[in-house]
Symmetry: C2
Subunit: 172 residues, 2 copies
């Protein structure tokens, strides 16, 4: 299983970026996101998305990063612009391992660089943890997101123009 | 050349997401971003990044989308979760064309769906325009970002632990 650990989330400043991080985690193959600051609003937003679009992606906020790291059984990947090139790093990863993917908001503490099994750069340019996570998960899962079915109540049908949306009836 | 058109930017609400969109555009191969609302702060942020990390990526904010679209000579791609699957769409795109990539913030007007040559979905799940743009540019440029040199004053050297940063002397 793949989980994401979002470090240093500041409720006011980062609410939209962290929401995008969580949505990307869900859409590109992670099962869960841990957020180090309690944020009920993001938990509710993702629960609402899951109830409509499917999957049982989970959000756990207000967690201690050291507790998560101490109990994690599997690989730990830290996405940072200072790390090893993505293409180089990928050949060393075991995609069958449980994998925790760490993305920071504010400055990431030094112990994360030490604790991570792999510090990986999705390009060595400043850009976005949202983009870095999407591209890492895309490569790590070999693009499986494009054919993954979420079995949601709401289903979007790919179309050249406009919007085609099916709402499946479900018994409550 | 590739340019990005950011629609519906709301200065307060979207400042960080639009900054990430602009940084992703620069890092993954676009030469320019048009933003439909004037935002001097984002212009300054990107100018600062370019002066340190290199490239002459340009930001033009406060533009009229219809004016850009009327004068654009090349293909117009609109990224939307309702569009055609990315892998299907890519085979129809000419990567040598000038390409304008549209990403929306708030609800995108109907005429954009009509005007676009291609409405393309980076997955038909709700996630993030930042991630959608990164993955589209990655595929469209065939991953050239990973070996692109920006010739910046500041250069990050990929490393397994910690941070290796070179600052090149430049004469002013």
């Amino acid at each position: 299983m793949i989980a994401v650990l979002r470090l240093g989330h500041r409720v006011d400043r980062d609410k939209r970026i962290t929401t995008h991080v969580a949505l990307v985690a869900r859409a590109f193959g992670a099962e869960k996101i841990f957020i180090t600051t309690k944020d009920v609003k993001i938990e509710k937003t993702l629960a609402s998305i899951c109830s409509r679009f499917g999957s049982d992606f989970r959000v756990e906020s207000g967690v201690s990063p050291s507790s998560i790291l101490n109990h994690w059984e599997g690989s730990v990947v830290h996405l940072t612009m200072y790390g090893t090139q993505l293409s180089t790093a990928l050949s060393q990863l075991n995609t069958h391992d449980n994998t925790l993917v760490i993305v920071g908001a504010e400055k990431v503490p030094r112990y994360i660089y030490e604790r991570a099994d792999f510090n990986i750069a999705v390009g060595n340019q400043p850009h976005s943890e949202v983009a870095a996570l999407a591209l890492f998960l895309d490569r790590f899962t070999q693009g499986q997101w494009e054919n993954h079915s979420f079995h949601g109540q709401v289903e979007i049908i790919p179309t050249e123009r406009g919007k085609k949306v099916i709402t499946h009836d479900t018994e409550c």
